[in-house]
């Protein structure tokens, strides 16, 4: 059983008479502990792909299984639960809530999981320690540099131990040196056993991943794994 399994996924937006096929018969499987980069130009459909893998959106047709569970026809509330328990997001803009301190930001997924405060605190501290920001737990996002904020968002993604981490252009808002540090950190996470799916337009960054999937016009045009023939 694959961890992430997309099968004949279509995502079609109809705009009056014309229809836009953001994803056009896309199939992709990701195994546990993989580090996949999905790369493509803007408009290639990589964001739509990321939204569907992230359970933020459902496909027009096709099936998407996450951990063996079919999510393609799920109700909004069930999707929220899946996002909460099985996925961790790292965004380009960090997406921390400014009026909450780091600890509270990292705690958020656990609040929606219904954990009691003592348990949340403990897990959030551990997660902040993992990204090396334990001593800043009571600071607010605005008091941190971009790289530090991104590390907080990684801590938040990791806090609930989800099987999949989705990183959407995680280095896009950072200078190249900090970007490299963040990327190294993500690689380290992968080496420790976390499955990572990274979405980017940048070939250099994509090449850091173990597996590269290139999307164009909603179709996969290149998959390094398939070329090597390992997964077939």
């Amino acid at each position: 059983m694959s961890l992430v399994e997309l099968k004949n996924i279509y995502k079609i937006y109809s705009d009056g008479d014309s229809e836009i096929r953001a994803l056009d018969d896309m199939s992709l499987t990701v195994e546990e502990k993989e580090f996949v980069a999905i790369v493509g130009q803007s408009g290639s459909g990589k964001s739509t792909c990321m939204n569907i893998i992230g359970c933020l959106d459902v496909p027009t047709s096709g099936t998407y299984k996450l951990g063996g569970i079919d999510t393609s026809t799920m109700h909004e509330n069930r999707l929220a639960e899946i996002r909460n328990r099985s996925l961790g997001f790292i965004f380009q803009q960090y997406n921390l809530i400014p009026k909450l301190n780091l600890l509270e930001n990292v705690e958020l997924p656990l609040i929606y999981r219904g954990y009691p405060q003592s348990k949340r605190r403990k897990m959030a501290y551990e997660s902040l320690e993992r990204v090396g920001l334990l001593d800043r737990a009571n600071k607010f996002p605005s008091q941190l540099s971009g790289g530090q904020q991104q590390r907080v968002s990684i801590a938040r993604a990791l806090v609930g131990n989800p099987p999949v981490i989705l990183a959407d252009e995680p280095t896009g808002a950072l200078d190249s040196k900090t970007g490299r540090e963040i990327l190294e950190f993500i690689k380290k996470l992968n080496s420790e056993g976390t499955t990572i799916i990274l979405i980017t337009h940048d070939n250099d960054i994509a090449s850091q991943a173990k597996r590269l999937v290139r999307i164009h016009d909603g179709k996969i045009i290149e998959d390094s794994l398939a070329e090597r023939g390992v997964n077939q």
Binding site: G54, A80, I111, Y112, R113
Partner: protein, 391 residues
């Protein structure tokens, strides 16, 4: 996410922009403060008016018909008998003879209202004494020439000096002054302070007819007023055979009118309060809508992290309710301060009721929830992808 978390989140969010939160609450604060202070004064005034009337009790005016001559009349003993037979209905009864009389102190003289009553009259009418004592049973029974005078007479005839023990001439006879009534109408001429009270047994001789035409009686409580009126009418009807020859007037009829009037005023107040609270509620809704728009991204983040619709919904609803409840509490405190401040300033009793405070609190919570519902629902329905993309 439970209610406690939603609440602490709401408080945090309110504290994050104090000025805006305060301005949002202002409508509710003003509305609730107005309601509390107005109703307090209103209740105070109403209860004062009703107290006054309750003090007076029920008045029986018995007018003897001139046409039926002197052979039919009701004597004080008959009224006393009626009162003695119905102690649970009638508290006390006094004859009430009112006549104009000339009074003299040496060469000073004036005309004044002379009241002939029994010893219970002071209690019936709630009269209080400035000094000395009121008439007693013995004064009435033995026809003692004792009198109680009002403050106007003290000022006019005795230059404001203590007149107790002095002698005053009423209609040619000497009376001892045994008491002075407490001032009730600024000691004005012709007012309630311009009168002299003597035993009715003596007053009968001052009037030409010797007939007692009026009695005052008091019911035991407000509830027994109707019964007392009925008993009195029954008794009088036995003597006069027709209601044409007497009238019985209950002060409770006036209380009813007062109650009716205050009821109407309360409705008007409630209307004004309703409008101001409506405006306050719209203020909250407006700010909540702005707040939802401003926090679109936050909502997107929360949803991406696993917040369900109802989590977002309760977050904003609790925030709206908290805003208006805090506004309501400030309004209640402010209203009580205003009520007490005004009370001491213009000498009107303020009587805030627990009921009005509870209602004010409930109404403000209700406003928060009902006017917060629309913005909260808007927030809850946001699509996480759109919300995350929002700048």
């Amino acid at each position: 996410m439970n209610l406690k978390q939603s609440f602490s989140l709401a408080v945090k969010s309110l504290l994050a922009s104090k000025m805006r939160s305060f301005l949002t609450m202002l409508g509710i604060i003003i509305g609730i403060a107005a309601v509390i202070s107005l109703t307090s004064h209103f209740n105070g005034m109403t209860s004062e008016v009703i107290d006054q009337f309750e003090k007076i009790g029920t008045t029986t005016t018995h007018n003897n018909s001139t046409g039926r001559g002197g052979n039919r009349r009701v004597e004080p003993e008959q009224f006393q008998e009626l009162a003695d037979k119905n102690p649970e209905v009638i508290l006390a009864v006094s004859p009430n003879i009112s006549t104009r009389a000339t009074i003299k102190n040496g060469s000073d003289n004036q005309t004044t209202t002379c009241l002939g009553v029994s010893e219970v009259y002071a209690a019936l009418r709630g009269l209080e004494l400035e000094s000395g004592r009121f008439l007693q049973y013995i004064d009435v029974e033995r026809r003692q020439k004792n009198c109680v005078i009002g403050t106007y007479i003290v000022n006019n005839m005795f230059d404001g000096q203590d007149p107790i023990g002095e002698v005053i001439k009423i209609g040619g006879s000497n009376f001892n002054i045994i008491g002075v009534l407490k001032e009730t109408a600024d000691s004005k001429e012709g007012s309630d302070d311009d009168r002299i009270i003597i035993p009715y047994t003596l007053a009968r001789t001052l009037t030409r007819s010797n007939i007692i035409t009026s009695y005052v009686l008091s019911a035991t409580t407000v509830e027994t007023v109707d019964k007392a009126t009925e008993l009195t009418e029954e008794m009088l009807l036995k003597t006069y055979a027709s209601t044409d020859y007497f009238t019985v007037t209950a002060m409770s009829a006036i209380i009813d009118t007062v109650n009716e009037m205050t009821g109407m005023m309360s409705a008007v107040l409630a209307g004004i309060a309703g409008i101001s609270l409506l405006v306050g509620g719209i203020g909250i809704m407006n700010i909540m809508l702005v707040s939802v728009t401003e926090r679109t991204r936050e909502i997107g983040i929360r949803k991406s992290l696993g917040a369900k619709r109802r989590d977002i919904m309760s977050q904003f609803l609790v925030e709206a309710a908290t805003t208006s409840i805090i506004g309501g509490i400030i309004g209640i405190i402010l209203g009580l301060l205003i009520a007490n401040g005004l009370a001491s300033l213009i000498n009107i009793k303020a009587a805030p009721t627990a009921g009005s405070i509870v209602i004010a609190f409930g109404v403000s919570a209700l406003i928060g929830i009902s006017f917060g519902y629309f913005p909260a629902n808007k927030a809850a329905k946001l699509d996480p992808i759109d919300a995350l993309r929002y700048d």
